[in-house]
Subunit: 233 residues, 2 copies
């Protein structure tokens, strides 16, 4: 079996949000599908370990925010590489509460769908949740981000809990190495700081050694502190 075949499926990039016991949470997902047209239903695939799974099961509702291509990597990292058990992901961001009583992330969204749970299917490590769309709006004019854009244009990675996680090294095939300076890898998300490229988004020029980065610099993918990085062999 050649798993590269599975990586050729096309997806978008979404934030799935839900609430419970006064807690709001959201996570990145790529596996959102419309299932029926009348009534409008959508499915989403969520890892059983995730807090969002617990909140969707409990509240029997969730929302889907479709992210725009221009969404900063750190915003995706906040929702995709951290657990809502350790951090309040909704602090300081724009959202509204939908008719399903789920929070709906508005920052960097092109559209959203608010859903009441209509069914679920056990799929081993993940559950497929089916939601009946009770509200949907267009809230931005950007282009929806595709998963391919996230990986190939923005250099994004998949966490180990993703349905499409490709295994160790599977996401790292396009990395380049600085000729003399070492690359450093983020222990949280797998992002590699390559001194030959720097981090132009935060003003770090090409050719900047990892050792010369300001101490306040954080992983552009997941927001982890510089102390989470490890030198690559």
């Amino acid at each position: 079996m050649n798993r590269t075949a599975l990586q050729q499926c096309s997806y978008g990039v979404y934030i799935i949000s839900a609430q419970g016991s006064g807690k709001l949470n959201g996570q990145i997902a790529n596996t959102v599908c419309q299932v029926t047209s009348d009534p409008a239903t959508v499915s989403v695939c969520i890892n059983k370990q995730n807090l969002t799974h617990e909140l969707i099961s409990g509240s029997r509702a969730f929302s889907v925010s479709i992210l725009a291509e221009e969404t900063p990597m750190q915003f995706i990292g906040r929702f995709g590489f951290k657990s809502g058990r350790d951090t309040d992901k909704f602090e300081g961001i724009s959202y509204r509460m939908g008719p399903s009583k789920s929070p709906i992330v508005l920052d960097h969204a092109t559209s959203y769908m608010d859903c009441e749970l209509a069914g679920s299917m056990d799929a081993g490590t993940h559950t497929i949740f089916l939601g009946r769309v009770v509200d949907a709006e267009v809230v931005g004019d950007g282009r929806p981000m595709t998963y391919e854009h996230y990986h190939n244009v923005k250099g994004g990675k998949s966490p180990k809990t993703a349905p499409t996680y490709a295994g160790a090294g599977g996401d790292d095939t396009t990395e380049k190495k600085g000729e003399t300076m070492a690359s450093y890898k983020c222990n949280i998300c797998g992002y590699v700081y390559d001194p030959a490229e720097g981090d132009p988004d935060t003003g770090i020029g090409a050719g900047t050694a990892f050792e010369d980065l300001p101490y306040s610099w954080v992983c552009p993918t997941c927001g982890a502190a510089i102390t989470e990085f490890e030198k690559m062999a």
Copy 2:
């Protein structure tokens, strides 16, 4: 509710194939998702009216062929806008039988996955089938076609049985009209012949009136005969 929001989800374009009682069949689908990584599983959403639904349910297996961007519209039309109950869709095309005993379409595919049925969920007009991937291979070097590419670059339409069918007129917002000559619409798939554009793929130049098309001309989207076209108001 603004249904445009739902149209901003991102998908690929796939042929889902299955067999039963000596009959091979396949259909176009856009709603394929990887569900788990270990073991590798994928889901696909199929209309209950479709022959493929009957064959997957009976054989408890299916295959997914990921189509390349260069796939001709008539090939998509053959699998997407005709029923296997009326025609043998596998006649004259390249395929192989997978370990799940499902036929796998190879023409215009970049990759395929062969799956044994691992579960299913009733979703009203459609069923979500969950398949355990028993074989997967890369078979072409083209780029996987996205559903957006199918609609916006190739001018494709959605049949009424698709999960993402947008209703009357919902797919037709980008059509242009010839200045003096009438446009004609295919009654089978909704494709509009616009004389201002002609049908360059079959050598019909821009500015060719519908009435001047050769009688052997067929709908470039679904392959319907010229007699299936109706003049637009």
